[in-house]
Amino acid sequence: MNIVLLYLLLLKGTATAFAGLASLPVIQESLVNQYHVLTNEQLNEAVVITRSSPGPVGLWVVSAGYFAAGLPGAIAGWLAMITPALLIIPLVHFVGRKMGHPRVKSILQTIVIASAGLLLAAAIPLGHDGLTGPVTWAIAIVCFILLFTTKLDTLWMILGAALVSLTASSVGLVALL
C-alpha cells in the first residue's frame, strides 16, 4: 500500500477521534474492510502491544501502521498520531473567543459520544476474532469485571491473561482457547 495513502487513512482516524482508541472504528473501516491491508486480529494485537508498553494509547496506530506496511508504515502511523496535536496551537490563539461557545461544546460532546457508540460496534468483529472458545471468553469476562471493580493496571491484566491461556494450552486445553 502507498505510504502517503496509509498516512492519510490513519490520519482520518486520529484527526476525528478525541481519545486513544476512538480512532479504531474509522481505521478498521478503511484498512480492514475497504483496503484489506490489516486484519481484525492485527488490530487486536496492536491494542495489546500499546497496552503493554509505555506511552499514550494513541500509539496503537504505530503498531497498526507496522502491520500494514512494515517500518515505513510505522512511521506513517507516528506521523498520523502527532499531526492532530498541532491543532492545539490555533486553539490556544482562539481560546476564550470560540471554544467556550455552548454550540461548539454541544458539537464536540455529540461527536465524542458517537465515537463511543462506534467503538462498541468496532469491538464486535474484534471480539469475534479474539474470543474463540470458553477459555478466551472467560478471560474477557473476568477482565471486564476487574476493569470496573478494581484499579488494576491493564498491563497486569494482559500479562495475567497471557499466563492463563499459556497454562491452559500447556495442560492440553488448546481446543478450549
Binding site: 477521534a17 494485537e45 502491544i49 499514550p56 496551537i89 471554544m99 459520544i113 463511543a116 477459555v135 474477557a140
Partner: protein
C-alpha cells in the same frame, strides 16, 4: 486510557486565557525543553493522567516555566484537540514556552522515544508469533484487549453521563451504534452526522 474525551474544562473566560498567555517565561533553551519531555512524557503506563501530574511537578512546581493558569489552559485545550490528548497538551506547553520551535521540539521529544519502543515491541511480537507457546499466550492477551476495548467505550462516554444528560448520551451513543452496525453508515459518516446533530441539540451540560 484515562485521558478521555473533551469536557467543558476548556471553557475559560477570554480575559483569563489571554492574561495566562501574557506571562512570558524567560528564554528557555530548547535542549532543556527536549530533555524534560523526553524524560517525563514517554514512560507512563496507564494513560495520560499520570504523565500530566509528573510534568506539572517538573515545569510548574520545580522549574516555574509556566504558571498554573497556563498549565490548566493547555491541559483543557489538549482535551478539546483531536488525536492523542496528552501529546496536544505537551505541544501547547511547548508553544507557550518557545512558540513554533518549542512546539516542534516538544512534539518530537514526547513522541519519538515511546514510538520507538512500540516499534521494537511490534517487531518482536511479529517474530514471536511463530512460537506455539507465544501463540497461546497472545490469545489470552488478545481476550483481555477485547475486554479493555469494550471498557473504553464507557471510559469515553462516562464523563458526560451526568444527571440531566443521561438520555442524550444513551440516545446519541445508541444511534451511532445502530447507524453503523444495522444501517451500514461508515464511522466517518456517523461522526459527521453527530456533528450536525450537535449543532441543533439543546445546549450540552457536562
Amino acid at each position: 486510557m484515562k485521558h478521555t474525551a473533551t469536557t467543558d474544562d476548556g471553557h475559560r473566560s477570554g480575559t483569563g486565557a489571554r492574561s495566562a498567555l501574557t506571562v512570558v517565561a524567560a528564554m528557555i533553551r530548547l535542549a532543556d525543553i527536549a530533555s524534560v519531555f523526553i524524560r517525563y512524557a514517554n514512560f507512563t503506563l496507564g494513560g495520560g493522567s499520570a504523565t500530566t501530574a509528573v510534568i506539572h511537578g517538573e515545569i510548574v512546581a520545580k522549574r516555574r516555566w509556566v504558571t498554573e493558569e497556563q498549565f490548566a489552559l493547555s491541559f483543557a485545550l489538549g482535551r478539546l484537540t483531536p488525536g492523542t490528548n496528552v501529546l496536544a497538551f505537551c505541544v501547547g506547553i511547548g508553544w507557550m514556552l518557545r512558540r513554533w520551535p518549542g512546539a516542534v521540539v516538544v512534539l518530537l521529544a514526547a513522541s519519538i522515544p515511546c514510538t520507538l519502543i512500540v516499534i521494537v515491541i511490534t517487531v518482536l511480537f511479529s517474530k514471536w508469533q511463530e512460537n506455539p507457546y507465544a501463540q497461546a499466550a497472545i490469545k489470552g492477551a488478545i481476550a483481555a484487549a477485547v475486554a479493555i476495548t469494550v471498557k473504553t467505550v464507557w471510559t469515553i462516554a462516562h464523563p458526560y453521563f451526568t444527571a440531566g444528560n443521561r438520555l442524550r448520551v444513551a440516545l446519541v451513543g445508541a444511534a451511532a451504534f445502530i447507524l453503523n452496525v444495522l444501517i451500514g453508515l461508515s464511522p466517518i459518516e456517523v461522526l459527521l452526522l453527530a456533528a450536525i446533530v450537535g449543532i441543533f441539540l439543546p445546549e450540552a451540560r457536562s
